[in-house]
Amino acid sequence: MTSRIINHPVLDKVDDTDFVSFTFNNDEIRGLRNESLAAALLANNIRTLRVHEESGTPRGIYCNIGHCFECRVTVNGQQGVRACLTPIQEGMTVSSGEKFLTSVKDWRSNNE
């Protein structure tokens, strides 16, 4: 279980009263207003954000600042959205990417 750090010896206390709801793979999730999708999911103990499109191995955040694209999910129908850069919004629909049916590698070796 991971959890929030509400009180901190140096940093200000976090206001943990203002929640918004969204869905991730059809499950309803609650997160704090304005926090990132990646943070909200982790606070709800969700680490796997997608699976690798070809091998199907689970992936979660790696860099948390937009560089690695490992956290990409589909938000309100738009693919390739980085969860670590996206503030959550009330009613947002989020889903993981799916494993491709045909491997891109196989497709490439047949078509390139």
């Binding site: 560089h67 490992e70 738009q78």
Partner: protein
């Protein structure tokens, strides 16, 4: 052990290719696809570089792995038309 997370290219694959072809970082990338994934090589480029430079000299006056625009994936919608 994976080096390129996006394309799932392994250390063994890269090392073998580097040794077999005694190749530059650029050639290593083209041969294995390491660095050609979704992140544009931001995550793996330093590692691909190190493997290549174990067998070839580094040219300090040139970026070994070229950057190509766009450096962030652009959604199809924002290109104004569906391409490829």
């Amino acid at each position: 052990m994976i080096i390129c997370r996006c394309e799932e290219v392994t250390y063994g694959e890269l090392k073998n290719t580097a040794e077999t072809y005694n190749c530059s970082a650029r050639e290593l990338k083209l041969r294995t696809r390491a660095g050609m994934g979704y992140c544009g090589g931001r995550t793996c480029r330093s590692m691909v570089d190190s493997i290549a430079h174990a067998s070839t000299e580094r040219d300090v006056t040139q970026v070994t792995l070229k950057y190509q625009p766009p450096i962030r994936p652009v959604s199809f919608g924002s290109l104004g038309e569906i391409t490829k």
